[in-house]
């Protein structure tokens, strides 16, 4: 008790009660979360404003005779004529490694019911992206665990790859699967949830916890019932968290789910601030909104720590329209897109990736040699298959060569099907794709390819784990490894005749 009293008295002694001048504004009107004030003469753009009772606002509109302040929380106590004060601080987030495994909001407050985040450093939400000379080109792969992506649309660490598609096509599923696959990749993950339902966020958190992914993941959430200002700030908050780890030289994966809702929140704020609106009622700077965010995802060179931030923004299209305003904006900013189609999804192709329209502008520079060796011709084979697909109905009237191409293409396509929560390691993907492109699946019953794949992988793990490890360590397929792979698949096919096409008697 005596110790507590002396702590209290020492704190009391250190308090400075002199009246420092505070820059103040008087609220003229306050509606829909936006207030216009007079005063605040020397306020800075984007500065935090103290609204009283612990509430904060952001000064976003600096006009000659008034300042537009966006309230970051409800601030119901405010009335016309009330004073609000400058804080002198630009919006920043307290971050430390404590944030891993936690869910925070755009202001850095913990919203998962546990203790507050201990701050190691204040990271600014708005920051100028690293310059040209600080960067290095992307060459290290980011393994998503999804065969279709890692083989044909490979993503590298430091790249921005857009995941775009209609609702319920599996965009979030790909993002989550990628997070799950980073368990042994030494990559920190940040999942930014913008405008989603709280139930969805709860499900996602549960999945990540159950699979042990929360150890290396931080979640920044501004759900649908949070203010538009918080939804607007959430991606920048997530970026600030990612940059904390980037500065330590780590590799970070950040997922923005989704930027369409982010643009809508920004549109809401801009219209309430009476800023002029443009196409689809979005403000004129909606491109800059996303470009300044995504430019901060980069790979730094050795002099600057060698870390990287890989960004996977998600955009939801309406009726597969990729030529709408926001989708075209973000497509032109990112280094490629993964295009998901609802037709493919409904016909059973999951992940519903349209390999023809999807592209990765970093491409094979971010692919391991072993993957390049097997997947090199896959995209071409699939493109030829798609061209011939229309003729599949006439399969009895086609020549042998075309039939063979159709059969091969169908099986390669089947191999690309995958469960959203079953990411495959690189060596497993290489083994499966090797079998597919080298014709070992040609004799397998078309309907049983997925079963074949599961059984084959079990067989490889049971009998040839050292071969898989060899592929992983070498990073490429040596001649000896290729021989062993050939033998393993042949042996497997011989043992498991239940998957083979029944010979017509």
């Amino acid at each position: 008790m005596a110790k507590k009293t002396s702590t209290v008295s020492s704190i009391l002694d250190s308090i400075d009660l002199t009246a420092e001048p505070r820059s103040m504004g008087i609220v003229k009107n306050f509606s829909d979360g936006i207030m216009f004030t007079e005063g605040l003469d020397d306020v800075q753009l984007g500065e935090l404003i103290d609204l009283g009772s612990g509430h904060m606002g952001l000064a976003l509109n600096l006009e000659t005779d008034q300042v537009g302040v966006v309230a970051l929380s409800s601030a119901k106590h405010l009335q016309a004529g009330d004073p609000i004060y400058r804080t002198g601080k630009i919006l920043s987030l307290p971050v430390s490694s404590d944030v891993l495994g936690r869910t925070i909001n755009s202001l850095g407050e913990a919203i998962d019911g546990k203790a507050a985040i201990q701050a190691d450093k204040d990271m600014p939400l708005e920051k100028i992206a690293p310059g040209v000379m600080a960067r290095q080109s992307v060459s290290v792969p980011l393994q998503t665990g999804v065969k279709a992506i890692d083989a044909m649309i490979p993503i590298g660490r430091g790249q921005r790859e857009l995941i775009i598609g209609d609702r319920a096509t599996g965009k979030t599923a790909i993002a989550l699967g990628t997070i799950l696959n980073q368990s042994d990749q030494d990559v920190i993950c940040v999942y930014v949830c913008i405008g989603q339902k709280r139930s969805s966020l709860a499900q996602i958190t549960q999945v990540l916890e159950d699979r042990g992914a929360m150890e290396y993941t931080a979640i920044v959430a501004a759900t649908a019932s949070d203010t538009a200002a918080q939804q607007f700030l959430a991606p920048y908050a997530g970026q600030a968290v990612a940059e904390y780890f980037l500065e330590q030289g780590k590799d970070v994966l950040i997922i923005f789910d989704d930027l369409s809702k982010h643009a809508q929140a920004y549109r809401e704020i801009s219209l309430l601030l009476r800023r002029p609106s443009g196409r689809e009622a979005y403000p004129g700077d909606v491109f800059y909104l996303h470009s300044r965010l995504l430019e901060r995802a980069c790979r730094l060179n050795k002099d600057h720590g060698g870390g990287s931030i890989t960004a996977l923004p998600i955009i939801e299209t309406q009726a597969n329209d990729v030529s709408a305003y926001i989708p075209t904006n973000v497509i032109s900013i990112t280094d490629g897109q993964i295009y998901l189609e609802s037709d493919l999804f409904n016909s059973g192709m999951r992940p519903a990736i349209n390999v023809g329209l999807s592209v990765s502008r970093v491409g094979s520079s971010a692919q391991l040699k072993c993957m390049k060796q097997v997947a090199g011709t896959m995209k071409l084979d699939l493109a030829q298959y798609r061209e011939l697909e229309a003729f599949a109905q006439f399969s009895s009237d086609l020549d042998e060569r075309t039939k063979a191409q159709l059969d091969r293409g169908f099986r390669v396509n089947e191999v690309l099907k995958q469960g959203w929560d079953t990411p495959l390691k690189v060596e497993e993907q290489v083994a499966v794709i090797f079998a597919a492109v080298n014709g070992y699946l040609d004799k397998v019953d078309a309907e049983k390819v997925t079963e074949w794949e599961a059984a084959y992988l079990d067989y490889m793990h049971a009998s040839n784990q050292d071969l898989l490890d060899q592929i992983k360590t070498d990073g490429k397929i040596e001649d000896k490894t290729k021989e062993r792979l050939d033998k393993s698949v042949e042996t497997f096919n011989q043992i498991n005749s239940q998957f083979m096409i029944e010979e017509q008697a």
Binding site: V8, I15, E20, P21, S23, L40, D41
Partner: protein, 74 residues
Amino acid sequence: MKNITITTAIELTSAKKTSLESKISKKVGSKAKFSYKVNPNLIGGITIAIDSKLYDGSVKYKLETIKQALYSNL
């Protein structure tokens, strides 16, 4: 020409007002327009707002400062 608003918890006597005005005018240097408000929420003390700069010498503000210091350090 500065707008100066003086807010107190209780009504000031005119003698007090005159002495305040002369002291503040000397400090500020330029001509000033004074207006007075009474806000019992301040509990005691005085706040002087010069244009949009506020000098908060109210008892309420001092108590708030103590409260913040104790909350953040204990």
